[in-house]
Symmetry: C2
Amino acid sequence: MQKIFSRATLDRIPLYYRALKVLNDSGEKIISSSKLAKILEITPEQIRKDFSDFGQFGIKGVGYNVDKLKRGIEKILGLQYKWKMAIVGVGHLGTALANDKIFPLQGFQVSALFDIDENLIGKKINGVKVYDFAKLDAVIRRKIIDIGIITVPDTQAQIVADALIGAGVKGIWNFAPTKISVPPEIHLVNEDLFIGLTTLSHHLANE
Amino acid sequence: MQKIFSRATLDRIPLYYRALKVLNDSGEKIISSSKLAKILEITPEQIRKDFSDFGQFGIKGVGYNVDKLKRGIEKILGLQYKWKMAIVGVGHLGTALANDKIFPLQGFQVSALFDIDENLIGKKINGVKVYDFAKLDAVIRRKIIDIGIITVPDTQAQIVADALIGAGVKGIWNFAPTKISVPPEIHLVNEDLFIGLTTLSHHLANE
């Protein structure tokens, strides 16, 4: 049981992780907070505070051990485990996520796809079978899926969430642009693309 | 020229906007910060501080004028304008974004699609034509596109960004999982799906 970090900190951790992975792969042993600050455009003070919160301490005037830091961050992100995911809704977005090259490299395995479209059921996408949504409960239980990904129209999102939770998933990643309700023990992350877009329009309109 | 808000504040503004739109559409005239706090699961103090930063002031013991607040937030997000967007890379993700129902309702119009695949060039997706990537500069200039959306593989992302910037776009929304470089006057928003996923795995691994 480790510390649970805020969303703001969690937004930075994958950036640290990616940079450390590149440095480690290219044989770098030591990295200073000021060098990392330049790479990531985050202040060195913020980086040192974050790393200290992660229980990682550098050597003054030298820096941090890249490999040790990377392994510490992997543990915080739960990347030492394999996570099994199911995608419900095999439209363009669901298909794009099923074909993602990065997720499996990081231990996130898409293990089942679900749809109600008879033309899709039984097909395979990136080697993963599309099951009838009616069989969701049995398939999720048999494959012991951890994370359910919702890529259905917003009118169907709550029904899908309820089915996933009933079948035992522990986390939900929701791409439908609607608010869904889940019990407190279920972790829900809403992926809201409108936020990225309005961040752009805010800057374009006001500068 | 208005105030430029931080990303953390900008993550909340679309949530405010959506809630106020629903309230306004259902005929609500006045909303209190405490009622909005319950709907959005944000503290009333944070809401009052944000609204005051937006130059919006409620009446003590009564609340905020829903319509006025909504219009103020629309202006902050630049939603009073129409934004023209081009998507480069008509794979599953590009196609999903081209088919998005929410963007056009909020003033974000996909006006052109680009790809290098001859089987796609000349086709229409959701009424929008796929152009040859070789014609990007001319098409972007003629249509006066504001925002370029990058949905190509990461090895191609910088080339696409350079082409978009050369053609005059002012903002870039990058979905390729790589860091791209842009001049300071260009607004870049990286949409990093790995962040949402590791937010989930962090919670699942540590509770």
